[in-house]
């Protein structure tokens, strides 16, 4: 008989085959592969005699009733869609671990004081329509009517994509869950970062999902002949931008944020011409919005100082701003206790720099997240990898976390 971890990994492998691309894994919202994926997951759930359905947003759902029918539910889940050329675990692993845990409770026939649900969200990555978290926003009741007119790269609107898939746009609100029907949401996800691997830990407790701000910056100096312009008369946009890149790094590090310059371009960009223009991006994140904003203000002050010193002009445009989503203290403790019972006595708490369904679900109910170590922190790439041992510990830890909640709930009622 296969271990649960092997079953989970096998299922991830099978889902990886449901791809619109022959070369890599790609499964986008409301596609034929989306349907095939939900059907395959439903087959597995039905083999365990679990009730399954697809909600009005195309999210896969299954439910195990608690001690009596209709009790509020603890929801376990993540997403089943992928980016192009994806790995096989980002999102998917969390749904498979959740299903495995519910199967264990189903099999054990030991009733919980709440219902257990698994949700496999249909859209977290946002690859098809350029806006992420459609599945979890529908679930949380935060659907925006203007989304209906968004189009994919083939010009198909979201509304049409719903109709083509066989969903009724008018029924979208029926996907929304009531807060009073839920006790909280727990999500298992690969870390997508290198911290757990560096510290040789299988699992981590997520404290918050960072809120990112993004900016496009422009430095305007003066182009000039590389051979004939002495230093005293230069206003080199790239030298100024280089100083700024290092200032961003130093100040973010000092302020315990992460900030990244991911894009950099210079004009005219000739080997023998002093750059007259430099443009670059900044992405800054922190688990606390106030901390992030304070560090950002100090960065702006420093960059303006550099611009003045170098006789260049600086422009800053904010292109994105999201608030951090804190994980509830109570669910953090439940997950930490689950991890302890699975063998790590002093669980590592860390924030998530990447976005997750839990950000949307946090608008509806308490959220908690558990990270699983992944090889070299790689994600969104075919090289995404987890070990069987870590998956085994993750299944146990999530099961224990649910039991902790059950104990607490029983004690309270």
């Amino acid at each position: 008989m296969k271990s649960d971890a092997v079953t989970v990994l096998d299922r991830c492998d099978q889902l990886a085959k449901l791809s619109c691309s022959e070369e890599g894994i790609e499964r986008v919202y409301l596609s034929a592969e989306h349907r095939a994926c939900n059907q395959l997951v439903a087959e597995w759930a039905q083999q365990a005699e679990l009730t399954c359905w697809e909600d009005a947003a195309g999210n896969f759902c299954t439910r195990l009733e608690g001690a009596e029918p209709g009790l509020p539910a603890v929801v376990l889940g993540s997403h089943l869609d992928t980016v192009p050329n994806a790995g096989r675990y980002d999102g998917i692993l969390g749904v498979m671990v959740a299903l495995c845990v519910v199967e264990r409770f189903k099999c054990r026939q030991q009733p919980l004081p709440f219902a257990l649900e698994v949700v496999g969200f249909g859209d977290e990555e946002g690859t098809r329509f350029g806006t992420a978290l459609f599945g979890s926003f529908a679930f949380a009741g935060h659907w925006e009517p203007q989304w209906w007119e968004l189009e994919d790269s083939a010009g198909v609107s979201l509304r049409q994509a719903f109709l083509d898939y066989g969903l009724d746009p008018a029924a979208i609100q029926t996907a929304a869950r009531k807060a009073s029907d839920l006790l909280g949401y727990l999500e298992v996800h690969i870390e997508q970062g290198p911290v757990l691997e560096a510290e040789q830990r299988a699992l981590g407790v997520v404290t918050a999902i960072a809120g990112a701000r993004r900016f496009q910056l422009g430095v305007s100096g003066q182009a000039g002949h590389a051979g004939t312009t002495p230093y005293t008369l230069r206003h080199d946009a790239l030298c100024a931008a280089s100083q700024m890149v290092l200032a961003v790094e130093a100040l973010a590090q000092q302020g315990e944020c992460v900030a990244t310059v991911g894009q950099m371009a210079v004009r005219p960009g000739a080997v023998n011409v002093i750059p007259g223009e430099a443009t670059f991006s900044i992405d800054i994140r922190s688990e606390r919005d106030a901390q992030r904003d304070e560090v950002w203000d100090s960065i702006v002050a420093r960059l303006e100082h550099i611009a003045t010193e170098r006789g260049v002009t600086l422009s800053i445009e904010e292109t994105h701003r999201a608030s951090a989503q804190a994980c509830s203290e109570s669910l953090q403790q439940a997950i930490a206790e689950g991890i302890r019972r699975s063998g790590d006595e002093q669980p590592r708490f860390l924030f998530s720099g990447a976005g997750h369904d839990a950000m949307a679900i946090g608008k509806l109910t308490d959220v908690g997240m558990m990270f699983v170590r992944c090889e070299k922190g790689i994600s969104h790439h075919p090289a995404e990898a987890v070990t069987e041992e870590d998956v085994s510990i993750a299944i146990d830890a999530l099961e224990h976390s649910v039991l902790v909640l059950a104990e607490r709930y029983a004690a309270r009622t």
Copy 2:
């Protein structure tokens, strides 16, 4: 009657109309505009009863005999070709000032102890065949046989272009001049830099034409998620490259060279991904090769240190290397004295960071150069500008420089 400076500027304006492009000035080697340009300059020379010819490389030539026919010549000149979207003075001004000075001596009928020649080189910029200085290399007798197979963007070989223009490739060696027939070469050129303007001087004496070395550098770090990778685990290629850009600037400045990073690109270049790769160029110049090479060695050592500290790998490829061409002490002094006699008692000596025909002619005979202030140091652009007053001073100064040489030569013989 027009002043000589106005005539020179008028002629530059007329030559600017001989362009293959309607939008800007563009006149490349062995084109219909090249022919029309040489013809128009010959008309002006013939009006002054000067003998004109086109040599075997398509260079415009004219000669004023000295006290007796066949004396060795002092050659004055520059080039008549342009880059695309050019200004009207780069090269052309030098030929027109030279012609004006020869016209003065012709008109005065006061024989010099040497012949005076004007050469308008047909190719300095190298725009058509990607290799510069064809005209002056032919004149200097440094023609490379492999050049014949070079092709322009339309696939026309240099050999075919010679034939199409009506020149005989087999006769190219007849363009080569004998060192014993020459006393030296004097070139007037716009500065193409901002030094004279900043110091409020019309003219400058060139000490040397800098030898440039060029490099392409690659920094290989590790791409990673901008939100999930803590600083302790980053190997950010752009942060490393930024430190390197600033090190290049600091060390070159300290070593009295100029070095420029004109190109910079990062990969993958996404706002939310830590750059894994950065590539950039370095151009380093000095009036002395040994000084430049010493500074370059110190730059390499510093960049390697930065790479080690940041855990990234560094690759360096040399893509270009040219030696500096010193201007002869004697011609520098003649030009300085010419400038003094035109009103600037303490002439400014400066090196040329840009390349010039004098680099090629320096392989044949002594060279000297005089720079003319140009507005904001702009060149290779329609905004290239000189003032009538500066041109007037330049004509006088070049005439005086020739007289200084004549006095010296007379004293010596």
